[in-house]
Symmetry: C2
Subunit: 338 residues, 2 copies
């Protein structure tokens, strides 16, 4: 029979549905996925030469030895159709004296990861990925200083089922003027654990997984990678830092190389092992103002999109995961480059 | 600029992203959707004649005048690959003295809505739909009596992006031994409102929408249909009963015909107006044991799958809705048959 597992970070239950009988290899795609073959597409707003199609850049990395302004490696621009944008007022007001609303204040930026249209992050070098994560970190540090910002969410959508609208490799950053209750819930649970034990819940989970081994994927001297006990979806992967900070903005820039190497390793295993699945990743981080809390640990969550959220998940918030995390972790550990 | 709107039932914020510039007609599908053309498929486990491919039926409606056992109109069977199933123990136990788990106790049933393989619910008669909802209600009443059941979730997945694995029209019912924290949250918020006002939050919302008119879709003497102020997705639709009960199980069977007629009307507007979009619907109902609470109102939520949940939604729980509920409601009101 299936198993109910509680996510210790939210106290939400997940159904690990062994009876639905999915083995890790069942998630290998057998579809030929139409990948872009061109390194450059003249209508793509993120390809070099079309820089005027995006709002003005807020950050770019270029080879300093090269005087050519067009030769950028990573480029960050405001989203042309922003979900949230600067200006306006974050003050809550009542609509018709009943519903609460506020201006959509905040920021919404796009990190263009490479000038090459068809470069997949899984196939980039760790050095290239390090530059991308350095851009995340720099923009995080710049935006956390803005007024009214409560949370900065950095997320990447890869593939149509993960919500990508543009295929040129890019990541997004949204800075919100509200604290999502999902994040509040994580903080409440983590605070309870801290009250009871004096320790960070996330660090305890990481240490537990290192010792238990069965859900581990990989480890460096700076980061630990595993499939969580109550994984909501098949091949959900958490990357946790050994250096304790609540906020991604507090990470030491010297750790970004090690982070990029484990991110690349996980993406490569997914790309080759499952045949280029769609996925999201997101950086879980403390709200602005809570950077110094001992009870939270920033981390990365990779969420492959191998199953669909259906009515049950939407109606209950409980996920049915047809794969067993110990088995998917084994599959990931066993996969080795050719 | 975009607008932040708070869902009064969860206090979660939703971003209504006017800047992303989607008008209601932008959601009309222009794809030829491959609909099944056969009324009968010999390999379909839900088509008549293949009854032995499913576990034994727990409920069926047949014409009483007809002695033929094979001539069922609606048929309910246990799911062959259940997420939760009877037996086992709902007792929480620790795995390795750290993570909490329990057996996947509960029930998982399938309501086969019609013997006809390619019959779309939007094109059924209100009488046919009434029979389907009567089966929901009968199974709800039967399962709420079982031990260890905390919540009964009835949901329908239509189309691949809504998580359907079988195209023969069917609905699912999952009875869980745990209370999802998403539902707990709705109850906490509703209790706060009741403490402050002495009234049911959901009834207040329904009455507000009836008077405001701008998000209304339709109304009968028994039900009110509208697009919620903080709709999480385009064309999200709530159907609320005027007769106050916290539990779907408490609804008067004589109201099921009126419910079926508004469900059919909404599905027909979506089917013709947007060209057969994928959708989920789910019945929001009180947990077992809370049937008599004054502060909650059972209702139906229809969730068209016109956009994808991306990394931002998964990471924050905040939805970005590219459509404005007042505009989508207008589109729905304006659409007329013929």
């Amino acid at each position: 029979m299936s198993e109910l597992r509680q996510d210790k970070t939210t106290r939400e239950w997940v159904i690990i549905a062994r009876e639905r009988g999915k083995r890790p290899h069942d998630f290998i795609s057998h579809l030929e996925k139409p990948c872009p073959t061109s390194t450059y597409i003249s209508s793509c707003p993120f390809c070099p030469g079309q820089e005027e199609l995006t709002p003005g850049e807020v950050l770019a990395y270029r080879d300093e030895s090269d005087g050519d302004q067009k030769k950028w490696k990573v480029r960050v621009v405001p989203n042309k159709f922003p979900a949230l944008s600067p200006g306006g007022s974050a003050a809550r007001v009542y609509e018709d004296s009943f519903f609460l609303k506020a201006d959509g204040v905040g920021a919404h930026e796009v990190i263009i990861e490479t000038p090459i249209h068809n470069k997949v992050m899984a196939l980039m070098t760790a050095e290239e990925v390090t530059e991308i994560w350095r851009a995340y970190w720099e923009r995080y540090r710049a935006l956390e200083k803005l007024e009214d910002i409560k949370l900065i969410i950095i997320f990447r959508n890869q593939g149509a089922s993960a919500g990508t609208s543009l295929e040129h490799p890019h990541t997004q950053l949204v800075a919100t003027p509200v604290w999502p209750s999902q994040v509040r819930r994580q903080f409440e649970v983590a605070m309870d654990h801290y009250d009871e034990t004096g320790r960070c819940l996330y660090t305890d989970i990481m240490e537990f997984e290192r010792k238990a081994e069965k859900r581990m994927i990989t480890e460096t001297d700076r980061f630990v990678v595993f499939h969580p006990f109550a994984s909501r979806v098949p091949f959900e992967t958490w990357i946790m830092p050994k250096d304790h900070h609540a906020s991604f903005g507090a990470v030491s820039p010297s750790d970004l190389g090690s982070l990029a190497s484990v991110v690349t390793e996980v993406l490569r295993k997914l790309y080759h092992g499952l045949n280029n699945p769609d996925f999201n990743y997101v950086i879980a981080t403390a709200p602005v103002g809570d950077e110094n809390k001992d009870y939270f640990l920033w981390h990365v969550r990779i969420i492959p999109r191998l199953t669909q959220m259906a009515g049950f998940e939407l109606g209950s918030g409980i996920f049915i995961n047809p794969a067993v995390p110990e088995e998917t972790a084994q599959f990931m550990r066993d996969w080795r480059a050719g």
